[in-house]
Symmetry: C2
Subunit: 388 residues, 2 copies
Amino acid sequence: MNERELNRKRLVVQPRDFHFGDSGEDALLLDCGKQLSSVNIRYETYGELNANGDNAVLVLHALSGDAHVAGYFTEDDKDEKPGWWDDMIGPGKYVDTNRYFVVCSNVIGGCSGSTGPRSVNPATGKLYNMDFPVITIADMARAQHRLMQHLNVKKWLGVLGGSMGGMQVLEWARLFPENLQCAIAIATTPRLSPQSIAFNWVGREAVKTDPNWNDGNYGDNIPVRGLSTARMLAHITYLSDESMKRKFGRVLQKSQNYSFDFHFDFAVESYLAYQGQRFVERFDANSYLYITRAMDYFDISAYAGGNLTKALSSVKSPFLVVSFTSDWLFPTSQSRELVRALLNNEVPVSSCEIESSYGHDAFLLEIETLGKMISDFLRIQQGRMRHA
Amino acid sequence: MNERELNRKRLVVQPRDFHFGDSGEDALLLDCGKQLSSVNIRYETYGELNANGDNAVLVLHALSGDAHVAGYFTEDDKDEKPGWWDDMIGPGKYVDTNRYFVVCSNVIGGCSGSTGPRSVNPATGKLYNMDFPVITIADMARAQHRLMQHLNVKKWLGVLGGSMGGMQVLEWARLFPENLQCAIAIATTPRLSPQSIAFNWVGREAVKTDPNWNDGNYGDNIPVRGLSTARMLAHITYLSDESMKRKFGRVLQKSQNYSFDFHFDFAVESYLAYQGQRFVERFDANSYLYITRAMDYFDISAYAGGNLTKALSSVKSPFLVVSFTSDWLFPTSQSRELVRALLNNEVPVSSCEIESSYGHDAFLLEIETLGKMISDFLRIQQGRMRHA
C-alpha cells in the first residue's frame, strides 16, 4: 500500500456541537444548586448507530482529555496526531467503529469546546472565569445524558472510561441505570483519596501563585508557569517509581558531570518541563482548577452516608473493572472496594488487575491487554442486549 | 513533683558557633570546585565527652531540620517546643546524654545558623542568594568533619541520621572511615530516585513561580506562597496514603456539606496549608532550593561509575540500616540495595524494616521501636570500641 492509500484509510472525524439550556427550563441543574444555561457540548462520533440501537458506546475522558478520542481531523496532514485513544478505537480496532457507534464528548468545565470557565457567561456577556459554578462528576454525566437524548440513543451498549472517565462511568451506572447495558471502569476509584485531594490542592496552589493567574482573570498573558508546575506534579503521579527508573534513571541531560546549577540537569527534569510546556499549550488554567475540584468532590459513597454498597444499589448494568499493579494514584485496593460494593448489590462484575510498570498511565499504554478485555466484554454484552 | 521541679529537669542547651575558613587555605573546597570561605557552623552539644573519647555521637538532620535536636533553650518558657528529636535524645532517653556526648550541627546551605545562601558573601559584602555555590551531601559532611576536629573528637562512637541525615551518614562512612566506630542510617537511600528528583524539581518550580522570589533577591517580602506550596508537596511525600486516610479521610473542615468553592473544604487541605505556613515561618526559600539540589545530586554509586559496592569499599564501620514499611519516598527496596553493597564489602550490617503506617515521617514518630534499636546498637559498639 502506498502512502496515499494509507492516508486515505485514516479515520477522519468532524467535531460537532450540541447546544442546550438557552431557556431557563432547559438549563442544567448542578449539584452545587446553581443552574448552567446556554450549555455547549463538543463531541465526536465514529461509526453509525444501527437500526436496533444496540451498538452505541460512550467513551468518557480523563482530566486532561477531550472529545477527540480517535482518528484525525484532516485527510493528510502528516504532522497531525490522532485522538488520545486511537490505538483502542477505530475501524478494525478493539472498539471497532465498523461495528459500534462510538461517542465521546468534552466534559462541562473543560476547555476543549464544551462550556467551561473560559466560556462567556450569558448573564454578563463576559468570561465566567472564577464565577463559573463548581461542577461535579455527576454534573458531567447529566450533561452527557442530554447529549444522549439529542443523539437519539435510548440505551448505550457500553459506557467506558479510565481515571476521571471511570468516575463518570460510576455516576452513569448510578444515575441512569436504565440507559446502559454495561459499564467499564478502568484505573479508577469510587472516591478520591485524601492523598489525591492533597496533590490536587498543591497543584491548584501552584496555579494561583503565578501572578499571571490574576484571580482567574487572565488575558493573553496566561499563567504558563503555574499551570505547567501543576501539570508536572500531576504527571509524576501518573507514572510509577519503577517506570521512571527505567525511563530516566539518574541520566544527565547534557554531560557526564553535574552542572551544579538549577537548570535542567537530569533527563527527568527536562522531560517534566517539556510535558508541562506541552500541556499549557492545549489546556486552560481555570479549567484545571474546576476539573480537579470536581474530582475532589467525587465520592460515590457520600450518596448514602458513606455506605458504598447502598450508594450503588440503583446499579443494574454488569461491570468490567480494571486496575494496574503499579498505579499508585488509583491503586487496585480502590478498585476492589468498588467490586465488593457492586457484588454486594448482586451486580455481575468481571474484574482484572493487569500487571504493568506504567503506573496510572497504563490505561493509555497497555492497549493490547486492555483492548482485548474491552472488546470481549462489549461483544458478550451486545449478545445479551439483543436477547434480552 | 511540682511544676517548678519539672521545669528544672528540662535539658537546657545553648546554640554555639564554630567559625573557620577566613584565610584562603582554611576554606572549604566544595564538590562543585568552588571554595567556601568564612564558614559558620551552628551546633549544639549535649552531655560531656568522656576521658576515653569513646562516647561521642554525631546526629545529622534531615532537609528541614536544624542543630536543635533535643532540649530547650529556656528554663521555663512553657510555650517553647523542644528539639526535633527530643523523645529520642536526652538524659535517660534512648540516646542517653548522661552517657553520650551528642553533637548536632546545622548543615551548610541551611538557614538555621550555618552559612547558607542568606549569609553575607565576604567577597561582595552582600547576601549570597543564588550566588551561593551549589553544595552536596559530601560537602555537608566535610564541614562537619571540621567541627569534629574543633571539638577534639578523634572518633565518633556513632554517626546517625534519618532521611537526608542518613545520606550524610553514608558520606561520613565513605569519606572518613577512621573517624567513626559505627553508622546508623535510617529511612534513607544510597541514591535519590528519579521520582524524588522530579518532586524536588516541582517544589523548586513552585518557589520560583512566586513573584516575591525575585530570582532569589527577596527582602522582607519573602516568597511565602511559593515556599509553602513546595512544602505542602513535600509533606505529602512524607506521609502515607494509609496514614492520610486514617488521619483525615475525606472529612470536611466546616460543615457536613461541600462548600462548592476553592477555599479549604477538606480537613487535609487546611492541615497542609497550616504545615506550609508554619514552614515558611522557620525556613528560607533559597536554602530550600540549595538543600533539595544537594539531595538530587546524592548518588553514592557515582563515585565508582555506578557500582555501589565499589563506591562503598572504603567503609569500615558496622552499620545499622532501618527502613519503614509505608515509606514510599525512600522505600525498603532502597535500603536493601545499600545493605547488599555493604555486605559485599564484608561490612557487618544489622538491618530492620519496621512495620509502620506513618510513611517517611515514621523515623520521627516510631521512637520506641527505633530508639531501642539505636540504644542497643550504640551500647554494643561502645563495648567493641573499648576493647579494640
